[in-house]
Each structure stands twice: as C-alpha cells, then as structure tokens.
C-alpha cells in the first residue's frame, strides 16, 4: 500500500522529454562492510546464509564471500541448534537438510565475520491460509468488466484468510517455469501488509501476466515486521533515483546487530518465515 505513489505518472511525463546517459563519477570509497543474507523457514532444509563484503561501486568482479565466517543457529534460550557449514559451490553456509524451523518459535543467529560478532533474531509467524489459486484470461476479465494492468494473457487470483492478531506481513515470490521472477519491479510487488485488508481475501490479484503452458510456482512467506520494514527501505533504495522527488538514500535498516562494534552494523538481513508453496499450470488452448 505504501508503494502506491504517482511514480508511474511521473515517469510518463519524464519519459516524454528526458534523456538518459551514463556518466563517470569519482566516487569515494569507504572500508568494506560485512553483508549477511539468508533465511530459515518451516520447510525442510538446507537453509542458507551468505556472508560477504561490500566492494567498490564500479567493481564488476563480484562480492567476495567470507568463507571463514562462523554461522550458528540457536533457540530463544541460546542453546545451539546447528553450526552451519560452508559450501563453496554457491558460497553459502547451510543447515542440515533435515532441519526445519517450527511455527511460533523464536530463533537467534550468531555470526562471526571479519573479527566482529553479529546477531539476528526473529520469530516464525503463522502464515496466511491459501484456500485456492485460480486463473482467468484477460478476455474473461474484460467480459466481466474487470480492469487489469498489463498485457493480454492470464491473470492469477487467490482466495484465503489471514491468521494471527494485528497487522501481518508477507512476502510473495513467483517462479515462472523454474525461474524466480526477481526484477526490481517483482521485488517491489513482493511484500504485502494486511493493514488495508480484512481477515479474508477473495480474488486477490497475484502480480504478473502469464501465458498458456506456463508453470507458476507461488511461495508465500510470513515475515516479521522488521523484515517488512527492511524490504520497504530496500525497495525505496532500489527505486531512489537521487532526484528531488526521492528522499536522501540510506542503507536499509537491518535486523542484524553488530555486538562488537554497534555502529558498524552488517548490511543485508536474515528472514524468519513460515512458507507455503502452490503450483499451478496453465494448460494449452484454455478458453
């Protein structure tokens, strides 16, 4: 809801007259910072945590992984659950395959990297209930007098209910024919708050336009408020154009604290989620 801004319309005006070009800037370079990204869910593992460092802005070599970091998962009383192990293939620290988080439980990560100790804490909140997932063609929608934003094709809708007290937060990701939809726009559409919703949802539109023979895998994750906030700030930063209509850019507020040097917080986040997955295939020549 928060992301509804007259951006689209503003970009229309801009696109009529604007001219874009690449420029070279002499940017300052500050000391590298630790970047931590990962998530644990109630689905079977392995759950992955990536630890790396920032690089200079124009550097194209890729962010260096910190393979000698230590990643420990603990319960709320700080009893060690698992020590994650490093896998060089995708430069991640992984849990065992059998382990899965439990709904309602709180977990703590302790990560040692570059000599500093970092900590992140979160609860696995109950997910929404997804009763059904269905699709309608743009022709059908048009015939029903329903407006849709986008091209001809098929549109997905979901029915279900929101569980838990108060405002709930979710992340919705879509894999289309085995490829995660992960553009800037996809990420911007991926976080939801129940703030404006009732307890049930009927015909809730799922972002995207799909075609015949598409296999769509939908994953819905419950997220903590601090992660929802992280995503909002992350999205704001992705779309920050540095112009007069954007606020000054700042690093998104992470849920990871640096216990050794509090001012030098890590970049990135660790997500604690209950996750549900649904797959739907749009058959050929569907009327």
């Amino acid at each position: 809801m928060k992301s509804i801004k007259p951006f689209i319309l503003f970009s229309i005006i801009i696109s009529l007259f604007a001219c874009q070009e690449l420029i070279d800037l002499d940017l300052a370079q500050s000391d590298p910072r630790v970047v931590i990204e990962g998530k644990i869910t109630n689905q079977p593992g392995p759950h992955k945590i990536k630890v790396s460092r920032t690089i200079n802005y124009y550097d194209t070599t890729g962010t260096p992984p910190l393979s000698n970091a230590s990643v420990q998962l603990m319960d709320e009383s700080r009893n060690l659950i698992e020590q994650f192990t490093y896998f060089a293939e995708d430069s991640t620290f992984r849990s065992s395959e059998s382990w899965a988080a439990e709904i309602g439980e709180t977990y703590i990560f302790n990560i040692e990297a570059d000599g500093d100790m970092y900590e992140a804490k979160g609860q696995i909140l109950e997910n929404a209930t997804l009763d059904s997932l269905y699709y309608l063609s743009s022709e059908t929608l048009e015939a029903l007098g329903q407006n849709v934003l986008g091209d001809d094709g098929y549109y997905l809708f979901a029915n279900g209910a929101i569980n838990g007290q108060g405002i709930q937060y979710y992340r919705l990701q879509i894999k289309l024919n085995d490829t995660l939809k992960n553009s800037r726009g996809d990420i911007a559409n991926s976080v939801l708050s129940s703030e404006l919703f009732g307890r049930e949802f009927i015909g809730l539109p799922i972002p995207g336009t799909f075609q015949e023979k598409d296999t769509i895998e939908l994953s819905l994750s419950s997220i903590n408020e601090d992660i929802y906030q992280y995503y909002l700030e992350f999205i704001n930063l992705m779309f920050n154009d540095g112009g007069v209509f954007s606020p000054p850019p700042v690093n998104p507020t992470t849920n990871i604290v640096n216990l050794t040097t509090p001012d030098k917080f890590a970049l990135g986040f660790i997500q604690f989620s209950a996750e549900i997955r649904e797959t739907i295939i749009i058959p050929e020549e569907e009327e």
Partner: protein, 796 residues
C-alpha cells in the same frame, strides 16, 4: 528575546506622543484607465519634498499638514504625475486618477513604487515584481510562471530543473507562506511541480519578503510570497487571452456599475494530454493529464468609506492511467475583504478567508479497488488596522485567527479485499496579535519595529499515545493513550515574534539597512524529499512535534545611481532554525496516525550574501543577481549526528535577466542562470542482496557530493502585430527554453545497466551481453521552442 520584545513595546508607546495641530489630506490613488488601485504611489508637498506619504495596498494614503496653502504632487512610475493646489483649513479627502504615460515609449517601466525606494525604504530582503515584468521573462513551454520568475531573484532558489518549489535563504519549501489575495495556498504547483498555480492574467503584483518581515505576517519562518489578484477594469469592458503551446487562457473583465464596481473572471486549461497522443505506446496514449485554473474577483465601492472585495481561486490537476488509476488534486481559496475608513487617519481591512487543498486517488483493478481522499482546510479571519498617526508614524495593528482542519487519509473500499478505513482528523486553532510602527526619526534614520504574539492550540478530538519516559517514541514503548474531547486543548504553544528594521540614509543615493525577525511556524510538510508531491502531508505541531522557530538577522547596503535608473543592493544574512524535523527512512507517513514515531528533530542554519544590480528604466531593463550561501542541518540520528548540507544548498546561484525594446513592435528578452549542483549523497560501494546490486552509503555522511553545475539560457521574442482598431491588440511570443540545449542533470541514479545502454530494451536492443553497475544521469528538458498568441479587446 524578552528584552527585545520589551524594547519594541517601549518604542511603540514612545511614538504615540502629542503632535502639533495638523489637518489630514487623505484619499485613494488609482489608475485612470482601469480604476485599479495604485500601490505605493507617492504624494508629497512639492515645496518641501521631505514631507510625503506612500499609498497602501488598497491605494489609500493619509498625509498630515498644518493649515496653509500647498502644492501636492502625486506620482507613480509609468504614470503622469499630477499637481494640485490646496488651501488647507480643515481635513480633506482628495482622490487621484493617474494617467498611464503613453508619450514616452522609450521609457519602459518594469517596477512600480517610488523610484528611489531601493535606497529610501526601510524594507530590505524584499522584492516586488509586477506582472508585466514576469510576463516578459522567457518561460518553459511559454507558460508564464510567477514562482519560477521569483526563483531568478537573489536568495531564492529552485529544487531542480523546471520545478516550482521555492527555497528562500536556506529554508525548505514548506517554510514559505504563499498568499493569493491573502488566502493561503497550500500547494502552489501543477503537474507535480512543473508549473505554478497562478494564472498570470489574473495576477497584478507579486511581492516576496525573504527577511525583515513585517509584524503583520506570520506562520512560516522563511518567506512570505504575497500575490495580489487584479481587480478588473471598472471603467471599460475588456477581454483578453492567449493560445499557447500547452495551455489556453481567457479573461473577461469590466464594470458592473461604472467606477463603483468591477469584476474579473479568468480561466486557463492545459492540453498536455495532446502530447500523450503522439506516443507510439498504447500505455502512454490512453492516459489523462491536464490541469485548469479559475480565478474570479469582484469589487464594489459601497461608499466613499467602504469597499468590498470578493475573490476566489479554484484549480485542479487530473492524471489518469488508463482506467486503472486516477489521481487528482487541487486548491481552492476564497477571500472576502472589507476596507473601511473610520476617518482620515484610521483604515481597517477586515478579511475572511478560506483555503482548501485536497487530493484523491482511485485504484480500480480486478481484486483491488478503492478511493483514497485526503485534504486540509483553513478558515481564517484577519483584522488589519492602519493608523496614520502623523507624517512620521504609521502604525499597523491587528489580529488573526485561523481554524485548521486536517483530514490525512480516508480510504473507501470498492472491493471485498480492501477494508474501508481512515486516520482521525486533526484540529487546531492558530491566533496572532500584532502591532508595528513605521517611524521616521529624522531625515536620515527611519525604523520599522513591531511585535507579534502568535499562539497555536492543537485541539480535540484527539488521542495521543504516551511513551515510556526517556525511551524512544516507538510503538513498543507505548504505555497508554490520552484521549481528548472535541475542543479540549491537546497542546498549546505560543510566543513573541519581535521584528525590527532600521534604515540609515548616508545620502539620498546611499543607505544602510539592518533587520531582525523571529518567526514561528506551527505546520509543516512531512517529507524528506526536496520537491513536493501533491500527496505530501501537512502536519500540525502537537504533543510531540514542536513548532519551528526561525531567527534571522540581515545587514545591507543600498545604492542608486544615474537618476535612480540603476539600483544596487548587497545583503548579508544569518538564519537559525530550531525544531527542524527529518523523517526516518522507510517510515510510513501517509497512513501513520502516530507521526511522532517517524520523526527526529534538530536545528538548521543558513548564511550568505546576495548581490543585485538592477536597471528599471530605459529600453534595456533587467537585473544581475548573485547569491553566495550555505545551508546546514544537524539532526540526531541523521548522518551520525554530524552537520550536513541541505540538498538545496547551492554555493553559487546567479541569474542575468534582460529585456530590450527593439522598437514599438518588437522586444527581446533573455535570461541565463547558473547554480552549483545540488548537494547529494553518492554511494561508497555496493553489494548484492535479493539478487540485486545495491549501492552502499556511509551512514555518517549525507549530501557530501555534488551534482554537476547547472546552467541554462532562455530567450523570447515578443512581436506586437498590426491591428486595424486600437481597441484590439494582438501579439505573438516566440521562446526557446534551454537555448544551447545543455543536458542539466535532474537526477543521478545508481543501478545496473545492460549492454551499457541506460534505456536498454531487450526486444528492441537484442540479447543482454553485459550487466554492469553504472551511474545514470537523467536530463529533463533539452531545447524547447514554444509559441504563444495573445490578444486583448477593449470595449468603449
């Protein structure tokens, strides 16, 4: 502060001393052809020119003289002076109608008021632009723009290319009080800021106070932009208008009762939608994009002593994205004024004002549909007295009461998934009392001093969260809620605002001026962006958000030379602003009913010097202005608490504005502007999260980098066409915005770019061969030609 307030009070009392038996000559000074009041016309005793007065904003003057015979000379620039002989043996009413000077065509006049005002007036940090001057400045798409013209003056800067946000002496854009016929205009921009809401055909005069602000004004800490609408010709019917590149205008005016009552109606509408139609893209073609303005004014001379004015403005923007998304916003103002003359010394203006700003958007897609509405209203009453105590003391006093209503958000669901809900309205009462005196101590020293007491009460109905003592104002630290009934005071703020201005005349051509003012501001816009969106939320001071306090001191040197044809001014200022707020990143502002959880407060300061060289008379007129300045803010939690530059900080800001009358038919005008690039934050690294390359910023710094310098030249040619009848005038205006097509950076974005092409499109440009982190500069307007046709028809 209390000492200064006391001094001002003492001086006021002291000025009301016994004076010798004098008689008063008073009346109105008007323009012969149209009956419009002449503001700032001078009336002097021709035998002793040091005895004189200046007409007020309603054209009223009051001059005191002992019994005797005098020759009074009334003059106003661009008009033929009048002399009358009077034999004064009692108080007298004398009205003047001055004829426009038509004989001397080489004498182009671009400034009203007295010729030596720059040097002689106590006013400083003040600029006055007549609408004719503004109309001669080349404009973007040929749309004459009041606020963009003001941005060419020293000490006033813009947010960026083409935008009409205004930053005065280091103040942010919500620190300017914009008045249209005294009614507050809350959002003075159209089309997301590219045009301002003032239709030039309906405007008479524009005056800005950047400092030395008279006690009569209050409510914003940085500037007062006072815009007066034309009254309409009360002698002849007139229709005028124009057809421009993006808009058309039509104004009709004329007498209702000849010489007693006149009216004016003026309308403007853009047809920017037409541009959208040229696009190849269906998604762009099916959009709506337009705005319109409607101004109306009526005045009626009830009697010799009473005059009524009613004026209003209504304007709206509408943007629509196919049938899916609509967004509209607009202002409405309504002013009723009653001028009453109690006697030849006491003048009262009673004003009732109403201002409204609202916006709404509607979303209508399958599964998500709702209307969102938000607005604010101001009900304002003012009493302004002018007491012409004697020729050396002109006292102003008055009172002001405003009732504010804020409706931050109301969402009405049109669909099963969204629930209808809204934020509670906020209510507040703002009041002020003021008194000031313009006193001529002697031939050299003149002082204007005043005191304003303003107060603000946030009133119920309201509920205020209570937080744990000493803890951060966060939801998790909330320990209770205080509920206030309708009318109950939630929080009260108030305080004195002393104002003083001193002018010392070194000689008739040189003066030194000094001013100090304290201003209090009880409302502000909740945004961290530099330029405004119509969705920006105005928030009142409340239990947690304190009013802004601004103190400014300015010192200036003023010189006129070559028979007042040239004016020079040099001013230095220092401004200190308290309780400046910054909104925490990512915090919800629009739907936050505990806005105090989203703010951090601190201080800001600005200093600088301004130079202005202006030529007001002759075939070539114009000015050169230059500002050297710095604006810094310091807010807890922002940039690790270090002072940082405001984004709109511009070390150098210069403008050259020229107009040349080639002959009776042709005139050429041009301007060139230069400004240091805005202070911005550039990344110091990058990292990958969520599969995206994200810039990394050093949290202890903000705005330590600079955008490239900005410069631009515009020109315009005005051609008066031949006409068979002298009752019909027509002209063509050709203009080029950004003549040398400079690509000024509007924004610099840090993002990944495919194939080193910032506008890469896979369908059009082929397969992706590389993806690299880049800095992408967007330049908004290249060279833009435009043409406008204007006409005017005058009745008999």
């Amino acid at each position: 502060m209390k000492i200064l307030s006391g001094v001002v009070l003492f001086m006021l009392i002291f000025s009301i001393e016994a004076v010798a038996q004098n008689y008063t000559v008073s009346g109105y000074i008007k323009e012969e052809d149209s009956g419009e009041a002449l503001i700032g016309a001078t009336i002097i005793n021709a035998e002793n020119p040091s005895v004189g007065q200046v007409s007020n904003v309603y054209g009223f003057y009051s001059l005191q003289l002992p019994a005797g015979t005098y020759t009074l000379r009334v003059s106003y620039v661009g008009h033929q002076a009048q002399e009358v002989e009077i034999d004064l043996n009692g108080s007298k009413t004398l009205n003047f109608n001055l004829k426009e000077e038509t004989s001397s065509l080489e004498e182009v006049v671009v400034k009203a008021r007295r010729r030596d005002e720059n040097v002689s007036s106590v006013k400083m940090s003040n600029e006055n632009l007549q609408i004719d001057r503004i109309k001669s400045i080349p404009a973007l798409f040929g749309e004459v723009d009041v606020i963009k013209s003001i941005q060419l003056l020293p000490g006033v800067s813009s947010a960026g290319e083409g935008t009409s946000g205004m930053f005065v002496r280091g103040g942010s854009s919500d620190q300017n009080l914009i008045l249209l016929d005294e009614a507050t205009v809350y959002n003075a921009s159209h089309l997301l800021g590219f045009f301002s809401v003032f239709n030039p055909d309906a405007i008479k005069n524009v005056e800005i106070y950047k400092g030395g602000i008279p006690a009569k004004y209050g409510g914003r800490i940085s500037s007062i932009l006072d815009i007066q609408m034309r009254e309409g010709n009360n002698r002849k019917f007139e229709a005028s208008g124009g057809i421009g590149s993006i808009s058309s205008r039509l104004t009709v005016e004329g007498p209702l009762v000849k010489e007693k009552s006149s009216m004016l109606i003026s309308a403007r509408r853009t047809y920017a939608d037409i541009f959208l139609g040229f696009s190849n893209d269906d998604n762009i073609r099916n959009n709506t994009l337009y705005f319109y303005d409607l101004n109306a004014k009526l005045n009626y001379q009830v009697s010799e002593k009473d005059k009524l004015f009613v004026s209003g403005y209504f304007g709206r923007d509408r943007l629509g994205f196919q049938d899916l998304f609509g967004f509209d916003w607009g202002n409405a103002t309504f002013s009723t004024r009653w001028n009453h003359l109690f006697n030849d010394k006491l003048f009262l203006n009673t004003t009732l004002l109403y201002s409204n700003f609202d916006y709404g958007f509607d979303v209508n897609t399958s599964g998500i549909a709702y209307n969102w509405k938000s607005g604010l209203q101001e009900y304002n009453m003012k009493l302004d007295f002018n007491y012409f105590l004697n020729n050396n003391n002109n006292i102003s006093f008055g009172a002001n009461a405003i009732y504010h209503v804020f409706s931050p958000a109301n969402i009405e669901s049109q669909d099963v998934n969204i629930r209808s809900f809204g934020l509670a309205n906020d209510y507040a009462v703002e009041t002020a009392l003021y008194i000031s005196n313009a006193q001529e101590i002697n031939d050299k020293l003149s002082i204007e001093y005043g005191l304003r007491y303003s107060s603000f009460a946030k009133v119920g109905r309201d509920s205020v969260a209570v937080y744990e003592e000493g803890a951060r104002r966060r939801q998790e630290n909330e320990i209770g809620i205080d509920v206030f009934n309708p009318g109950e005071i939630v929080k009260y703020y108030g305080g004195f605002e002393p104002r003083i201005g001193i002018r010392y005349l070194l000689n008739p051509k040189n003066s030194i001026k000094l001013s100090y003012n304290r201003m209090r501001q009880y409302l502000q816009v909740a945004t961290n962006a530099t330029a405004g969106f119509p969705t920006d939320r105005w928030i009142p001071a409340d239990a947690y958000i304190k009013p802004l306090i601004g103190d400014q001191i300015a010192l200036g040197y003023f010189k006129n030379f070559t028979e007042n044809i040239w004016e020079l001014s040099v001013e230095g200022y220092y401004k200190y602003m308290q309780n400046v707020v910054d909104f925490l990143p990512g915090e919800d502002i629009l739907l936050n009913d505990k806005i105090e959880t989203a703010v951090a407060d601190g201080v800001a300061w600005a200093y600088g010097s301004e130079f202005m060289l202006r030529k007001n008379y002759g075939k070539t007129t114009g000015w050169i202005s230059y500002t050297l300045s710095r604006t810094e803010r310091q807010i807890e939690g922002v940039a690790s608490g270090n002072p940082y530059l405001a984004r709109y900080d511009k070390t150098h800001d210069a403008a050259i504005v020229l107009s040349h009358e080639i002959n009776d038919k042709l005139s050429l005008s041009g301007n060139w502007v230069f400004a240091t690039g805005a202070a911005v934050t550039f990344p110091e690294g990058r990292y990958i999260v969520n599969g995206q390359s994200i810039p990394y910023y050093d949290d202890s710094k903000r705005n330590t980098s600079r955008m490239p310098d900005y410069h631009r030249m515009d020109i315009a040619l005005n051609w008066k066409l031949n006409s068979k009848s002298d009752r019909f005038e027509q002209e063509l205006n050709f203009s080029f915005y950004n003549l040398y097509n400079r690509k000024n950076a509007f924004s610099i974005e840090f993002r990944e770019v495919n194939n080193k092409n910032p506008t890469f499109n896979e369908e059009r440009d082929g397969p992706i061969t590389s993806t690299t982190p880049q800095s992408v500069q967007t330049a908004l307007f290249g060279i833009i030609p435009s043409i406008t046709y204007n006409f005017k028809f005058t009745g008999k």
